[in-house]
């Protein structure tokens, strides 16, 4: 009779919350979107782990998409999605790993959703095992630890800071750079306990910013979605939805004049970059910076402070927003001529223009 009507969670003081992040031996799971738009980011992430932090991380050529974008645009059934996820775990098991390092936020949220479903509804796990076995003859084990790439960078932020030749400090003024963060919705909004510091004030990115000398700036629409909306971006006629959400964020961060936007989600990274361009084109408005606010992901920023080459290593030329103003502020040494060159350093043509608006001079 007196049983509570619904599950009540024990009170968690999120600001003090730390999730468990594995220390070593990661099985890397790539992101469709990040590979497409910022392949360099994934490359430097592996490099930082292997070369700077001395960690073991395995990049398995056999893993595929998790089909998460299909799942969230509802053309992939939950059963199929679970089985796709199970296959990734099977590869991990096969290679003898127990910790996943996930590049994509959609995947990260999806893996967590699947894991939580298996926990609460064991019959779903059984069904998935059956499906996977029937389809591929594979079996799998549930990973012991599932961390997003940004969790791992966060965990080792101090080690990175110790090795970093650069700090997020304006070389000219000596002031810390003002950095706004944007956390992908599926990082912790679905499962706050899967994010460092919970969902409302996740520390995963601000922790890096502060560890590397920058100033994390809070802005009112910090937690608002970038507007990907899965099916909404995929259908051209629905893209106004996406751009509207991003515009709201830009409007909100503009008064703080941020030097940079830091993201942990490949989709958000791309959208916050591209929508600045599109908004400038349709409304003539530039929200900050010289010609737009640079948008970097956690791997890219880590690599930058660690002294990786912005073009050849990190691939920042694939961003529409110019990163040069940021590099100049930090004092990163780079060769502007190398920006638009091919494998062998040869000039390979260049974009019509970069940044928000074409230069008129």
């Amino acid at each position: 009779m007196n049983e509570p009507d619904m599950e009540t969670k024990t009170k968690i003081r999120w600001s003090e919350y730390n999730k468990e992040i594995a220390n070593d031996k990661f099985f890397y799971l790539r992101s469709c979107i990040r590979q497409n738009f910022n392949p360099g980011a994934e490359k430097v992430f592996l490099s930082i782990l292997q070369n700077k932090l001395g960690k073991e991380v395995y990049d398995d050529p056999h893993h595929t998409t998790c089909s998460g974008i299909g799942y969230h645009s509802d053309i992939v059934p939950f059963e199929t999605f679970q089985t796709m996820v199970a296959r990734q775990f099977s590869l991990m098991t096969e290679r003898g790993y127990k910790n996943c390092a996930v590049s994509c936020i959609t995947s990260f949220g999806g893996y967590n959703e699947v894991l939580s479903t298996w926990k609460e509804f064991p019959e779903e796990l059984e069904k998935t095992r059956e499906n996977l076995l029937k389809a591929t003859g594979r079996t799998f084990e549930i990973p012991e630890n599932l961390s997003h790439a940004c969790d791992i960078i966060y965990k080792f932020r101090k080690e990175i800071a110790a090795q970093a030749p650069y700090r997020l400090i304006n070389k000219e003024t000596g002031e810390p750079l003002k950095i706004v963060d944007h956390i992908g919705c599926h990082y912790a909004k679905i499962f706050p306990e899967k994010g460092v510091g919970g969902s409302e004030y996740s520390r995963v990115l601000t922790g890096m910013i502060e560890a590397w000398g920058g100033e994390a700036v809070d802005y009112p629409e910090r937690r608002h979605c970038c507007g990907f909306g899965f099916r909404h971006y995929l259908i051209k006629n629905n893209r106004s939805y996406s751009i509207s959400a991003s515009r709201k964020k830009f409007e909100s961060m503009q008064p703080y004049q941020p030097d940079m936007i830091l993201t942990n989600c490949p989709g958000c990274n791309m959208f916050l970059d591209r929508w600045q361009y599109a908004l400038a084109q349709i409304e003539g408005k530039v929200y900050g910076g010289k010609n737009g606010i640079p948008v970097l992901s956690h791997e890219e920023l880590a690599a930058l402070v660690l002294g990786y080459d912005p073009w050849k290593d990190i691939g920042l030329q694939m961003h529409q927003m110019d990163v040069e103003p940021l590099l100049d502020k930090i004092g990163v040494e780079y060769d502007p001529k190398l920006k638009f060159t091919g494998v062998k350093g040869q000039y390979i043509n260049e974009p019509e223009f970069t940044g928000c608006l074409a230069r008129t001079d």
Binding site: T8, W14, D218, R222, Y256
Partner: protein
């Protein structure tokens, strides 16, 4: 019955009222208060609903009553354990003090919900987000309401159900007194700052008391308080320290955004910390909300699940001041019945 001894734990209004009534019935009563003075949370309160009277008068009169009726009040003593010793009880305090009693009345009150747990409202982060308790304290101390920048607020949002009816913070019950407190504070703000717009964000207005609804009408009619049906989703500080809030205007089915100078969170009541200490070390049971469980919610509200241990006031459930006092009196009747029935 005259030689019977009752220990009353908690010197708030429930404890004081019950102690003085019991003492006047000829019982020996020890009132044990953990702080240096009696009155409990009301000591920080500025005005009571629905009549805007001063709690100080009430607390003082209860203190006088307690003193005059011959209650032995012990201060700075927190009971951590109640043990049954034969037909009697042994009460242990933190500093090795021992009390013996034939019956125990637990009137240990409530805790105010810690609004920092409701992170998205920014309490503790943003200077212009305060709680209803802070409001009372400020009004009592300064008689003024200022933003953190030192200006008169031009727009204040009062947020209902903070820490109540919220599974996310573990409290699914209604704290009952917040709605009327919000309306009272809204009126106070509007009287103090006539140019200030006051908004109440509510889900249901639970104005159960006899004069509560007329206060609601008065708030709308005379004070132009605006009521928006929608639960606050998040608060965020803007560059100028004002607070941007978001809710749904549920009566329209559209999201709403507004900038206000101050946000007042109507924090709910939670089971008292001292209560939980007692529970851990005794067999006293709690209900689904964590408050002390009554033997029967209808006819034995003040009886705990342990014979001889009684309860009064907000240790049982959220209550208003007048209900607490009535409840304390009803507890005394239960205790007297208990002694009468016990006589062979």
């Amino acid at each position: 019955m005259n030689n019977k001894h009752v220990a009353v734990i908690g010197g708030g209004i429930a404890g004081m009222e019950a102690a003085s009534v019991l003492a006047r019935q000829g019982l020996k009563v020890t009132l044990i208060e953990k702080q240096a003075n009696t009155g409990g949370k009301l000591n920080d309160w500025d005005h009571l609903f629905p009549d805007f009277s001063s709690p100080e008068v009430l607390v003082n009169s209860l203190a006088t009553k307690t003193k005059d009726s011959g209650v032995n009040t012990v201060y700075n003593t927190e009971i951590s354990r109640i043990e049954r010793a034969g037909k009697r009880f042994e009460l242990r305090a933190n500093q090795d003090a021992r009390f013996y009693a034939d019956a125990v009345l637990v009137a240990s009150g409530f805790n105010v919900f810690d609004a920092t747990i409701k992170e998205e409202y920014g309490y503790g982060l943003f200077g212009n987000v305060i709680t209803s308790v802070d409001f009372e304290k400020r009004m009592k101390k300064h008689g003024q309401l200022h933003t953190i920048q030192g200006t008169d607020p031009k727009r204040v949002a009062i947020i209902h159900c903070v820490g109540s009816r919220d599974a996310k913070v573990g409290n699914t019950y209604c704290s009952k007194v917040c709605c009327i407190t919000g309306i009272k504070q809204a009126i106070e703000i509007s009287e103090m700052l006539p140019d200030c717009e006051v908004f109440c964000f509510y889900m249901d207005l639970r104005l159960y008391g006899s004069k509560f609804d007329s206060l609601y009408l008065q708030a709308q009619k005379r004070h132009k308080i605006q009521f928006i049906r929608g639960r606050l989703s998040e608060a965020a500080e803007r560059a100028d320290k004002s607070i941007q809030i978001k809710a749904e205007d549920t009566l329209q089915g559209r999201p709403l955004r507004m900038t206000v100078d101050m946000v007042i969170l109507l924090v709910g009541m939670e089971p008292g910390a001292s209560t939980s200490q007692l529970i851990q070390k005794n067999q006293m049971t709690v209900d689904e909300n964590g408050f002390l469980k009554s033997a029967n919610v209808h006819c034995a509200r003040n009886q705990s699940t342990q014979e001889g241990i009684f309860m009064a006031g907000t240790a049982i459930c959220p209550m208003a001041v007048n209900e607490t006092i009535e409840n304390a009196r009803s507890a005394t009747t239960e205790i007297i019945h208990f002694f009468e029935n016990r006589r062979p």
